[in-house]
């Protein structure tokens, strides 16, 4: 599975690089350089997050996590996870490493889905820092309002589909 994903991804990279090269060498080298730079910039953050989430998972009280947001916690668990996601401040490293740590220490998959969906959609600081300056404020509030039910819908679909 992991090997197949790798091969597929690099095939896509190859095709895109080829298309860029057809349009000119400058475009190709620009793309390659930007991609590699982005990768180098991200490395330390992802490294800290991945290694850190292993430790956080070990440190979390498993019994507590399982009873609050475990697979048997149902709607209340989804609600708790959604609130937790809305209250989590910080970028992708923080949100995803907490989600992964919770999953490792016994949280249910639908609850983790609700958590990461809520974290991605509701983050207040992102709303204020990015969306309000760049878009009409009313659109931003409308976007936030229609996002409210989405973590619950995602968790409901997750429960219907079953575990991965």
């Amino acid at each position: 599975m992991i090997l197949a994903v790798n091969i597929l991804l690099w095939l896509v990279v190859g095709v895109l690089a080829f298309l860029a090269a057809l349009r000119g060498r400058v475009l190709f080298s620009d793309g390659a350089r930007e991609g590699v730079w982005e990768f180098i910039r991200l490395l330390p953050r992802i490294g800290a997050g991945v290694v850190g989430s292993g430790f956080i998972a070990e440190a979390l009280p498993k019994a507590l996590v399982a009873s609050w947001i475990g697979p048997g916690s149902g709607f209340i668990g989804v609600l708790i996870a959604t609130l937790g996601g809305a209250l989590t401040r910080g970028g992708p490293v923080v949100g995803f490493s907490i989600g992964a740590a919770a999953l490792k220490s016994g949280a249910g998959a639908p609850q983790v889905i609700a958590y990461s969906t809520a974290w991605a959609l509701y983050a207040i600081h992102r709303l204020v820092i990015w969306e309000v300056p760049m878009m009409p404020p009313r659109l931003v509030w409308l976007r936030a309002a229609v996002s409210l039910p989405l973590p619950f819908i995602a968790a409901a679909i997750a429960i219907v589909l079953g575990q991965p």
């Binding site: 599975m1 992991i2 994903v5 790798n6 991804l9 690099w10 896509v12 990279v13 895109l16 298309l19 475009l27 620009d30 793309g31 390659a32 930007e34 991609g35 590699v36 982005e38 990768f39 991200l42 992802i46 490294g47 997050g49 991945v50 290694v51 850190g52 989430s53 292993g54 430790f55 956080i56 070990e58 440190a59 992708p92 995803f96 490493s97 989600g99 992964a100 999953l103 998959a109 990461s116 969906t117 991605a120 959609l121 820092i129 969306e131 760049m134 878009m135 009409p136 659109l139 409308l142 976007r143 309002a145 229609v146 996002s147 039910p149 989405l150 819908i153 995602a154 589909l161 991965p164």
Partner: protein, 163 residues
């Protein structure tokens, strides 16, 4: 927070357990590196190859359910962080896209965007979980777009595009 957790493990379970967790974390990280690099390169090339104006025109002219689906698809396709996405969404509005489509676009980018999934989610959750989550997230942009349209029609919100 990660440091505090690491210190707590070291103190509670001893050095050997600490090193075991550190080792498995580093191994996982090393395994993910090629994917993260591939994700960064795909993002960079798509940004260069896909003209923004073209995207905006497609989303702006479509309407109805197709418009929502097209907007959701572009949210999935367009790479980049908040700095690139929100100006594009603003451009959609000025080019005549309806609010539902713009909402669907932003939510689709937030939940289904592949660069985000590849670069950030994959290292933490692994491919099975990420795929499963994205399948569940697929209908959400459309749902949100429809809700936004209903809210607009009911007069709960009015959007005036920036000149």
């Amino acid at each position: 927070m990660a440091l505090a957790a690491a210190a707590a493990i070291y103190w509670r379970d001893g050095r050997e357990h600490f090193l075991a967790i550190l080792g498995s974390g580093v191994a996982l990280f090393g395994e993910m590196l090629p994917k993260v690099l591939a994700g960064c390169l795909i993002g960079a090339f798509v940004t260069l190859l896909l003209p923004r104006e073209l995207v905006a025109r497609w989303v702006g002219h479509e309407s109805g359910f197709t418009g929502l689906a097209v907007a959701g698809f572009f949210g999935f396709l367009l790479p980049g962080g908040p700095i690139t996405i929100y100006p594009v969404a603003g451009a959609f509005l000025t080019m005549g896209a309806d609010t539902g489509a713009v909402v669907a676009f932003i939510i689709s980018w937030t939940l289904c965007g592949y660069t985000r999934a590849l670069v950030w989610e994959l290292p933490f959750f692994g491919p099975d979980f990420v795929l499963w989550r994205i399948v569940e997230a697929l209908p959400l942009p459309i749902v949100a777009g429809l809700l936004a349209r209903i809210a607009m029609r009911a007069g709960l919100a009015r959007i005036i595009a920036k000149p």
